[in-house]
């Protein structure tokens, strides 16, 4: 199939459609509005539902309802809007429903700014909403990876009956790169026996609920979910590694920041400093094993982020003291420059 040039936002929307998502509920916000705009254009033509809700809160609750009815449902927003969705996300996790949420992150806190940022890491991987729950968080670094991750996100959500979040930033959402869409047409989806589709008087009613008043009953449900999370931590970790065998300095970076890091690594190579990269593709489950293994051999690890230092906490936990873990970041919508990252590499080499 021919490669096409597409903006990250539009590519994510098209990928969702190709993954058989026919229900999208959104509310516009820069820098992700093209996802909604694309859905608004395409959904009516293919018998799907595009609905611009009255607010982000309404949109996520529409996703909750649609997911309960067993269809593939999605919403997207950017940071301030994602904050509004957190209550709904907690309910969806508490009701064990699959859905896909896209966060094209902008600078915060508050309304912040519209330029690229990674300062929603804590919110994405540490809960965000209330309660003991997890969300699978996938952070693509290219438009092709965004396409593949989006399609896979729907499969993961269905498999584990839980929300999956695609996290990008304004750069990923706005840039164009050549992509191809994998063949998905005609792929049959598994039956969702738990969905509230109407009993037609042939079965007992299915109930979608997150309220359990008896502590023992709720604890049992939470612990069963916990077991599921443990399985996911064993089998769904994804990362890209480069140059780890003989690296003195290893950088951990995700999303578009990892691409800028690669430019810094090329500068380091010219100065004779051996560097490696671990790029978490799943932020949760986090690639902690490879980080620990690497920390035992490396002189130092640097976590590079577009934040004041969020993922670095997980990198330190993973390294478990085996080597020093430093941090470099820019925030507020400022993007790190390769030269500045290279200076950090040189400082610790």
């Amino acid at each position: 199939m021919d490669k096409v040039l597409m903006k990250g936002n539009e590519a994510i929307a098209e990928a969702a459609i190709r993954a058989n998502c026919r229900h999208f509920f959104g509310y516009p916000i820069t820098p992700q509005t093209e996802i909604s705009a694309y859905m608004a254009k395409r959904m009516p033509k293919i018998g799907g539902t595009f609905l611009q809700a009255e607010s982000e809160i309404a949109a996520i609750n529409m996703v909750y309802g649609a997911a309960g009815a067993g269809v593939r449902a999605m919403t997207s927003s950017s940071s301030p809007g994602i904050s509004l969705k957190m209550e709904g996300l907690s309910y969806i996790a508490g009701a064990d429903l699959p859905c896909v949420v896209v966060n094209i992150v902008r600078a915060g806190p508050g309304l912040g700014g519209i330029q690229p940022a990674q300062s929603d890491y804590f919110q994405a991987v540490k809960g965000g909403g209330h309660g003991d729950y997890r969300v699978i968080v996938v952070a693509p670094a290219s438009i092709q990876e965004a396409v593949d991750s989006t399609i896979n996100a729907f499969d993961l959500a269905d498999k584990y009956r839980m929300p999956v979040m695609i996290i990008g930033d304004g750069m990923l959402g706005q840039m164009m790169e050549p992509i191809t869409f994998p063949e998905t047409a005609g792929k049959a989806l598994a039956e969702k026996e738990w969905a509230t589709t109407g009993t037609k008087m042939t079965r007992k009613p299915n109930i979608i609920n997150s309220l359990y008043i008896q502590p023992e009953e709720l604890e049992k449900i939470i612990m069963a979910r916990q077991k599921k999370y443990e399985d996911i931590e064993k089998s769904e970790v994804k990362y890209e590694a480069e140059g780890l065998d003989d690296a003195e300095i290893v950088i951990v970076a995700y999303g578009t920041t990892a691409r800028i890091v690669k430019a810094a690594m090329a500068l380091a190579q010219k100065s004779g400093i051996k560097t490696g990269l671990i790029r978490p593709i799943t932020l949760w489950p986090f690639p902690k094993d490879i980080i620990y293994k690497t920390a035992k051999k490396a002189k130092a690890i640097i976590s590079v982020e577009m934040s004041t230092g969020q993922m670095v906490e997980d990198v330190r936990l993973a390294a478990n003291g085996a080597c020093p873990v430093y941090f470099y970041g820019r925030t507020g919508g400022a993007v790190p420059q390769p030269k500045a990252i290279f200076e950090e590499i040189r400082r610790y080499a």
Partner: protein
């Protein structure tokens, strides 16, 4: 071979489209490409720019900090980006909109009155394609034929009638 190109000017001059044609032309030439627009509170009359990378290797950072080629169509962008051009690189300047001359001696500076040419040819809004034509003829990154294909792929189906005039504008810049 890696070219890091910065297209810069006012919103409404077709800066982003110009970059898209370059990216598509690179794609049909078998190169790896990326296209990154400035985005945000930009509007017609405000500044706009886009970063295009064409390379025979996978594109790392899509951000162009030090362009090998700067295509510039307004004075604020010229003032802002002239100093960032990589040594040995090119600046293509729309001399009908930018009265200043570049004082740098370590780069190649090309002046072309693109906006004036577009008006004279009755190609009102197509100074951008004239600028692209000049850039391609100077850098020879991609062939004329491939840029034509890039134009065909970049023009939306609803505006197919504009392909021919875009190619004419490109040709005028290419042969200037």
């Amino acid at each position: 071979m890696t070219r890091e190109i910065l297209f810069a000017g006012f919103g409404g001059q077709g800066i982003l489209f110009c970059g898209k044609v370059a990216a598509y032309a690179g794609l049909v030439s078998g190169l790896e490409v990326s296209w990154l627009p400035s985005y945000g509170p930009e509007m017609r009359g405000g500044t706009a720019n886009c970063h295009v990378i064409l390379s025979d290797k996978p594109v790392g950072s899509p951000i162009v900090n030090n362009p090998t080629d700067l295509v510039v169509m307004n004075l604020p962008s010229f003032d802002k980006f002239e100093k960032t051009v990589a040594k040995g690189g090119n600046i293509i300047i729309d001399s009908s909109l930018i009265g200043k001359k570049s004082e740098r001696e370590d780069i190649n500076v090309h002046y072309i009155p693109a906006t004036q040419m577009a008006n004279d040819m009755g190609l009102g809004k197509l100074a951008n394609m004239i600028m692209l034509g000049k850039m391609i003829s100077v850098t020879k990154i991609i062939s004329f034929e491939q840029v034509k294909k890039g134009i065909e792929k970049s023009v939306p189906p609803s505006k197919k009638d504009l392909i021919e005039s875009n190619i004419r504008a490109f040709e005028a810049g290419y042969n200037y």
